[in-house]
């Protein structure tokens, strides 16, 4: 794969990130309306045959991240508007709501269970399952196992298994705080020739790791694994 000239795109993306951050509204209903307009559900279309990968120039994904962060920062007041979007929004918004609810406190289980079992779109069902797990709902085995025979999508089934494996363990406050406190100016800030962005991150093995742990010692190959299971 040829190395691309990255610099102009990054400058464009950085300036757009600034603009978008300034635009994110302050009330949950407004944030949801905003992301509905600025996260392009149709942005999956590439010229040609791929319809699962956004164009490298696309920046709509940034608005989705910014909106998720803002809603989680706003906290409890975001729950009702998101539940409303989960129930009756268009597909893209139901997906967004199902995913975002997992990071919020005090989310009732029933609407998520309803979405996990009845929503037409598998992404809504998958994220509703995830969010039930993240909410720390107990006895998910009883709630989710009955969905398995009817569920056709393999990934949704896998996520049902993961949610049950949690055994009621909610998402950690560290993860929620990471989303709340992330500086949006770091959006898309990896630029060749500049210091690689560095954030302290948890690992599967339980340790915390930073790129600067390797400064002066080793080069690092950082691989963002095809991020779906």
């Amino acid at each position: 794969m040829k190395e691309q000239l990255m610099l102009p795109r990054h400058l464009i993306s950085l300036s757009l990130a600034f603009t978008c951050y300034a635009e994110v509204p302050d009330k949950p209903e407004d944030v949801i309306a905003w992301v509905g307009q600025h996260w392009d559900q149709k942005g999956w279309q590439l010229k040609g045959s791929q319809n699962y990968m956004r164009n490298v120039d696309d920046t709509g994904w940034q608005n989705r991240i910014l909106a998720m962060q803002k809603l989680v920062q706003l906290g409890q007041p975001s729950v009702e508007p998101l539940l409303e979007a989960l129930k009756s929004g268009p597909t893209g918004m139901r997906i967004f709501a199902a995913q975002t609810l997992g990071y919020l406190p005090g989310v009732p289980a029933d609407p998520l269970i309803e979405a996990a079992s009845k929503d037409k779109h598998p992404a809504v069902r998958l994220y509703a399952v995830d969010s039930l797990g993240m909410a720390g709902v107990k006895n998910l085995k009883q709630v989710l196992e009955p969905l398995l025979p009817k569920e056709k999508k393999g990934d949704v089934k896998s996520h049902i298994a993961y949610a049950i494996e949690r055994e009621g363990t909610p998402v950690s406050s560290a993860v929620v705080n990471q989303l709340k406190t992330w500086n949006p100016q770091m959006m898309n800030s990896a630029v060749i020739g500049k210091p690689a962005p560095d954030i302290a991150m948890p690992t599967f093995g339980g340790e915390t790791i930073r790129l600067s742990d390797f400064r002066g010692k080793k080069a690092v190959v950082l691989v963002f694994i095809y991020g779906d299971t």
Binding site: E3, Q50, V56, V175, M186, N188, D198, T203, V221, D228
Partner: protein, 109 residues
């Protein structure tokens, strides 16, 4: 790719680090699927469940190959001084740098 890369990068004294935008319950299954038993992982796997590292590196929410809004697969090479020196961002699902390309890039640092 990851198993080969894991062994080659230790030859070249580079640290391989993986990033998965999930919590550990699915991270564990990812590792199993790419061939690692839980206790045999030879490289750190960052769990980016808030997707903040992924958003920082500009890969978040850009691929929907199955169901999730998942990360665009990408590889970054950072030198010993912490400078980003090379990157590959997948344009299609199977678009990945060959291990040889990564090795060559590391040799040039």
């Amino acid at each position: 790719m990851r198993q080969k890369l894991a062994s080659r990068s230790s030859d070249l004294k580079a640290q391989l680090i993986g990033v998965d935008p999930h919590e550990k319950w699915s991270g564990k299954h990812l590792l199993k699927r790419v061939g690692y038993a839980e206790d045999a992982v030879k490289f750190p796997l960052i769990l980016d469940a808030a997707q903040t590292l992924s958003a920082t590196y500009g890969v978040a929410h850009q691929m929907r190959i199955h169901t999730e809004e998942s990360n665009r697969p990408a590889t970054f090479i950072i030198d010993k001084e912490g400078i980003l020196r090379q990157e590959w961002r997948a344009k299609t699902y199977s678009d990945r740098p060959a291990v040889g390309q990564i090795v060559e890039a590391l040799k040039k640092l």
